[in-house]
Amino acid sequence: MTIAINNLHKRFGKNQVLKGIDLSIDEGRIYAILGPNGSGKTTLIKSILGMVIPDKGEISVLEQSIKKGWKYRKKIDYLPQIANFPPNIKVKELINMIKDLRNAPSTEAELIQLFGLEPFLNKKLSTLSGGTKQKVNIILTFMFDSPLIILDEPTTGLDPRALIRLKELIQKEKTNGKTILITSHIMQFVEETADEILYLLEGEIYFKGSIQKLLEQTKQTNFEHAIAAITTGSHA
């Protein structure tokens, strides 16, 4: 089991975001975390990363409780939702900085070529377009070799070519035996990449299972419609 979550609760002020999440993530599979806006997807991910501190509950990553720990993050590559980078440094400097901070072998040259980022290496991050920033974000995430990859809205702003590259990259990492968590609102992307769906609703896990199971339960033939229909009956 790569990640085990037990009775996770989190509230922000009056807003109870997570209401007792129990979850186990197995090794070598791709999980898509879905749910309407504000259902707690990002909070769940940030709790796993230790950026959000849970009110109650246990999280363990690779058989290790994450409480007060930070070394376990060496095993995680995380792609944040909105690529907020320090504006005044160059792409190359940012890549080198993260490499220096993580102090692990990396394969950025390959990825830079894959996404065609060579012309941007000496540009400041504030001058880049949203899509290009997202490519930098992807490079920073995939350049290390960690067993767990967490992608928060990885497709944002990408052009079709880059999107295909990203999908190939995800498949490649899967064949390398990595565990991947993805959140996305692009259902076609989820359908193509994910092995298993986790549907969050109002801070609880409403559905967990394969796409096939989801289609059977909702009696739909189309994945997008199945997701839309998931909350209209009692299927979980």
Partner: protein
Amino acid sequence: MLKILKYSFYDLIRSRWSYVYFLFYLALGFVLLFLNNDVSKAVITLMNVIIVLIPLIGTIFGVMYYYNSREFTELLLAQPIKRSSIFMGQYFGVAGSLTLSLVLGLGIPFVLYGLLRSNAIFDFSLLLITGAFLTFIFVGLSFVIAISNENKIKGFGYAVLLWLFLAVVYDGLFLMSLIVFEEYPLDTFSLVATALNPIDLSRILILLKLDISALLGYTGAIFKKFFGTDLGFLISIAILLLWTILPILGLRYKAGKKDF
């Protein structure tokens, strides 16, 4: 922590504002020495400027840096780095680069003037040491305020209010209480009240070293009796240290509990 410190420090050293701050002190140092032609007098004038300006700059730089580097902080939080290291690194980066601007900016003109051969070297060193203390104290306080307030405007407001209180309002309240209670013995009260405010404490420390406490009258004599001794001096430094450490502890505590 050292890596974060390195990046924050370089980031700031390259920024325009560090140069402005450095050049300001450089110009101030040259002008004062040139106009006064007397190191001791220059130190007094410098003290008056520094004692108010350092806390203000420390506060504003600290708050601005914290809010401006929020993106960078979030990026770092997902990396395998200890949380407290991130914030400590940034804190020491800001406070360190400001202190460097101060020491170099004032140090260069004084060294060129021939400070090393004059008697004022101790007064001058004390000025720089208290300056460094004030920088670390106020950057620390501003970091604590910034981390406690998500809202930039609020954080900025509280930080400036804190500066205003310690630099201006506190003295006013202090003087008023001296006048209101003038019929009571106020020696201990004024000693304690001075020691509790890092700005006042720094001012008194420097003034007493400059041997102009005669100007302060009777109270000055009491101050001299307390702060002028080695013990008093040590206590003052200890209080300044305490003022430095408390915000750092506060920052660590807040950083450990915050959600990003």
